[in-house]
């Protein structure tokens, strides 16, 4: 199949001026909040080694854009921001200054295999808080994400929170071995309730516990989780206390009504070891972003520290946010040879006073009427000349 001149690779998009403008606005609002919360913005390379970031990123292999460098090493276009930032944080430079707060606004790349409707390149904005394994760190990043969603005006925003480790312990208490528990978690990630019900029949779950097992996908509050907590297991007891504390902290920060605590909520991102969460809002059929605690990822870079963070998808935020329709004043000055100097001076003067001015040589415009219609004010050169 020959490629037509206007075509772009699958999933690649042009940002026309209106979208580019909305994105710039969104970026400004978001990164401002991130910086206010004490995070420092950074930028990592677009290209990374497949051997390091490519493998660690937990993005499936066939979603990676791969290419070769001049030595024949395989490179990837960065598929996420969390792993590059973990690499940066683990580098010698930053190790001593833990905990560190890093934020980003970057494009990431994920190849699409199916039809359209999904971008293969999109911007993400988010933060990573590295070197703090306390609950306060988790509450901080969740609250910050929430503040950004509110600031951007996302309607009916919701957060779903789960806990990978606690779920693992609870599943073990139902008598499941690692393999069975893995299968259940896979179904949880796919949110396949029917599959869970069918699988439950084959699992060695005591009959009196079956009903409680099937309720795993229905919890909405931390209190609901109590049903599965084995008080004799110290780790479970402590993790559950943590969740209660987290609920309190988030409630205090004003997020109470917006959170669903779903113990079955899991992520396909395998590096999340503890708390996991996802954000939703009206207007987009896809999650707006996600995050969680990924202490295990830091370990891969040789660092035994806690880390937590979130990433929001700018393309989906755009669907969720109704842009302000305020028309920006934009002046057009049309000139020709006779009044060129007047026009130029006027433009400088208006621009200096903060106005947005387009200076255009009139004879070069083929259709004057549709062109001038794009502006809120039109000044003609002859007017300047005469006045």
């Amino acid at each position: 199949m020959t490629i037509e001149m206007f075509e772009k690779p699958l999933g690649m998009r042009d940002d026309f001026p209106l979208i580019a403008k909305q994105k710039a606005q969104l970026r400004k609002q978001g990164t401002e909040l991130i910086e206010q919360a004490g995070y420092e913005l950074l930028q990592t390379p677009t290209l990374e080694y497949y051997e390091t970031i490519g493998k660690i990123s937990a993005i499936s292999d066939d979603a990676l854009f791969k290419l070769l460098d001049s030595q024949g090493k395989t490179l990837v276009l960065r598929p996420d921001m969390t792993s590059p930032i973990a690499r940066v944080a683990a580098s010698k430079l930053l190790r001593e200054k833990m905990p560190i707060r890093l934020g980003y606004y970057s494009n990431v790349f994920r190849a699409q295999k199916r039809e359209g409707g999904r971008p293969a390149e999109f911007e993400q904005m988010g933060v990573e808080l590295i070197g703090d394994d306390s609950l306060y760190a988790d509450a901080e990043v969740i609250s910050l994400a929430w503040d950004i969603l509110k600031e951007l005006g996302v309607g009916s925003a919701r957060i779903v929170i789960g806990h990978t480790r606690l779920l693992e312990l609870i599943l073990a208490d139902f008598g499941l071995d690692a393999e069975q528990s893995g299968k259940v978690r896979e179904l949880f990630v796919a949110k396949n309730g029917v599959g869970v019900e069918q699988l439950a029949k084959e699992l060695p779950i005591a009959e009196d516990k079956l009903a409680s097992f099937l309720k795993l996908m229905q919890a909405t509050t931390v209190a609901d989780w109590k049903l599965w907590i084995n008080e004799e297991n110290e780790e479970q007891r402590e993790l559950y206390r943590d969740m209660e504390r987290l609920e309190q902290l988030l409630e205090r920060n004003g997020l109470g009504d917006a959170i669903t605590f779903d113990i079955s909520f899991s992520s396909h991102m395998t590096y999340y070891t503890g708390l996991v969460f996802e954000f939703y809002g009206a207007g987009s059929g896809f999650p707006l972003g996600s995050g969680g605690r990924y202490d295990g990822l830091m370990e891969q870079f040789g660092l035994q520290v806690g880390a937590t963070g979130f990433g929001l998808r700018v393309d989906r935020l755009l669907e969720s946010v109704t842009p302000e329709k305020t028309e920006q004043p934009h002046t057009l000055i049309l000139f020709d040879e006779q009044n060129e100097q007047y026009a130029f001076d006027k433009a400088q003067q208006l621009r200096n006073s903060g106005k947005r001015v387009t200076l255009q040589y009139a004879p070069a415009v083929k259709a004057l009427e549709p062109f001038t219609a794009l502006f809120t004010e039109v000044i003609r050169g002859e007017e300047l000349h005469n006045g």
Binding site: K191, V194, G195, T260, Y280, G281, A282, G285, F286
Partner: protein
């Protein structure tokens, strides 16, 4: 009360699902399906039905233009869409199986499989450790072995009548199929209460 947009396949599945919803106590207008309209409203329950091709239901739900939908497990297996599978409605039961001419072996060098479900067929034979060539057809799959296009077919079997009438026999069963209630992951969170209520009511109906 939030409005729920429900994507439904036209035809028999729609009728069975309609019965289930009415049985669950939902106040739906009579004869929703008799027009050529693609969108019909049930204002008393704040439902909006999108009438779609069965294969397309999970697509609408995945993109969130429908909150929930009713889709055959065959379609879900084939397309692997990111949707919640909430409930087995138990309607339109059938299964996917392999079939072919009686007493035949698959070609050893290039075994060919004709099917409407290329992903399901490919996954099945790979899991058996066999490399096959998949030929995608859109209907009348039973023709393929009869005219020498393929060694086997992978298709839906409900009564087995079509196979028999065409002199084909079933070889292996791949998966049981029923219709499922599916939900968009975001809708499920934003309208969780309403959707859970619907699931509970329907579950009672299905259990009968």
């Amino acid at each position: 009360m939030d409005e729920l947009t429900i994507a439904m396949p036209k035809g028999r599945i729609f009728e069975e699902a309609y019965e289930l919803l009415v049985g669950a106590g939902y106040d739906l207008p009579k004869e929703l399906d008799d027009s050529r309209k693609l969108i019909v409203e049930a204002p008393n329950e704040k439902f909006r039905f999108i009438l779609a091709k069965p294969m397309d239901v999970p697509t609408y739900v995945e993109h969130g233009v429908a909150d929930i939908g009713i889709a055959g497990k065959d379609v879900l297996l084939e397309h692997d869409r990111d949707v919640h599978e909430l409930l087995d409605l138990g309607i339109s039961a059938c299964y996917i199986a392999t079939a072919g001419l009686p007493d035949t072996e698959m070609d050893e060098v290039t075994p060919r499989i004709a099917t409407k479900y290329p992903a399901v067929a490919s996954h099945y034979y790979r899991s058996k450790g066999e490399q096959v060539e998949i030929i995608e057809l859109n209907g009348s799959i039973e023709l393929a072995p009869l005219i020498g296009l393929s060694d086997r077919i992978v298709d839906i079997v409900s009564t087995g009548r079509t196979l028999k009438d065409n002199g084909l026999v079933e070889y292996e069963k791949i998966a049981d199929i029923t219709s499922r209630l599916i939900a968009n992951p975001v809708s499920y969170r934003l309208k969780q209460q309403r959707i859970t209520e619907l699931v509970d009511k329907l579950r009672e109906q299905v259990g009968r």
